[in-house]
Symmetry: C2
């Protein structure tokens, strides 16, 4: 009987052209599918919880695949990690119901955008945070971030490129915290459009710079015009940080 196996993983995305398998480009899914094939003994097709872009990281990512291989799930992380490069790690594996699908069963996701805010950059945050030397006021940024909460058409903060049926999503929470020189913008939603968190970040930073006011954000979303919002922040600051599923899955600690 075929089993449905879900994996939770973590990856440092700098070296990869994103999650999604592409011809002639090294991707996280392509690398992980090759490792899975070696361990289970047959070609594997992975379904991921979303498309992360080139250079984007995941503290937590979920993918599932079907196999008739009888290897105990608790041995899978170790077996897979011996076939994976150091910047991708399988944290846990679990057998899930036949209907489970890493993207379809996902009801909520959280992304965190990390900004390194100091006069001089830090060599340990290269590709890991967006270096922003101008002093940022996190209280003002928090006010800007809150404007995105709710069910809206988010066409104004996405990049065109992928066809989607609807650009309406629900953001449950959107806020900014500071820990020393690190600012973090956390956004949780029932789904994200292409480049949405990076465009939200760019827009919140525009407010911090006085190029937009927090009260401009509502009307910008209403107009749905991408050119009115802030720029798309670079990928290295973005992390997929949390996932919620409709069924309980034993993938997270």
């Amino acid at each position: 009987m075929e089993r449905n196996i879900a994996l939770s993983l973590r990856y440092e995305g700098t070296r990869y052209h994103g999650w999604q398998v592409q011809k002639n480009a090294v991707t996280v899914a392509g690398t992980l599918e090759a490792a899975c094939a070696k361990v289970v003994g047959h070609p594997v097709h992975l379904t991921g919880c979303g498309r992360t872009d080139a250079g984007v990281h995941a503290m937590c990512y979920v993918a599932n695949f079907r196999t008739s291989c009888r290897i105990p799930v608790e041995r899978l992380p170790y077996a897979l990690n011996t076939h994976l490069p150091e910047d991708i790690v399988v944290l846990k594996a679990a057998e899930v119901s036949a209907g489970f699908n890493a993207i379809g069963s996902c009801i909520k996701k959280e992304y965190t955008y990390q900004i390194y805010n100091d006069r001089v950059r830090d060599p340990f945050y290269v590709h890991r945070a967006y270096f922003y030397p101008k002093r940022l006021d996190e209280t003002l940024m928090q006010r800007a971030a809150e404007q995105f909460i709710g069910t809206h058409d988010f066409a104004a903060v996405r990049s065109v490129g992928t066809d989607v049926r609807s650009t309406v999503r629900t953001i449950y929470d959107c806020g900014v915290t500071r820990q020393g020189k690190l600012l973090r913008l956390r956004v949780s939603a029932n789904g994200f459009l292409y480049n949405m968190v990076r465009a939200i970040t760019g827009t919140v930073l525009y407010c911090a710079e006085g190029k937009l006011r927090p009260e401009d954000i509502g009307p910008i979303l209403d107009r749905g015009d991408r050119s009115l919002a802030g720029p798309t922040a670079p990928p290295g600051g973005l992390y997929l940080t949390r996932l919620w599923y409709e069924e309980e899955v034993d993938l997270f600690d």
Copy 2:
């Protein structure tokens, strides 16, 4: 009149063959000397506060050089950083007394060795911490670390290679702390021998594994036999973290 300029810097050492200039190898000093030459308009010879090895990092490093260039010191960090790769950053510059020497005037240094201790490795600590999957008891490690405190001949915990007049040094403090999955061994001393902190780390880890007892360390130091102590831990976990100078220098925040 020639000025003596000191710089504090931070670097992520993964890409470098250590601090010291070498022919046919990319080093931190070589890279920084090239940037200095561009800014001051003449060849520059840097004196560093110590030789860090290939792959070793510095949260804080001090180097000095002499120049007749009149550029204001407060403009130097920005000017140098525009000529430096992202993994080396000049934090601050200060004019120091004619007799100041980054290594000769340094009276105390602190190194921190970072261990990532969990069942599975973390892709964000590759080259930044030593991945150690076996459960480590930091209380036992602390007891082992304390044995190194004091004035001893440290020949048993150094690699032969560089000629030194004496292998006697004074360790002021040596201790282990845990923060979640990260263990940190901090050692401060009036000077360090080649690979000394990495050999101390390997020895403390030997104690954690039961291959040595903390009370074995004193006799091992007395015997001065490198083969009795633990192995040299890998370079990626090692950070130069703090420096003390005999004169007050305006280089640290």
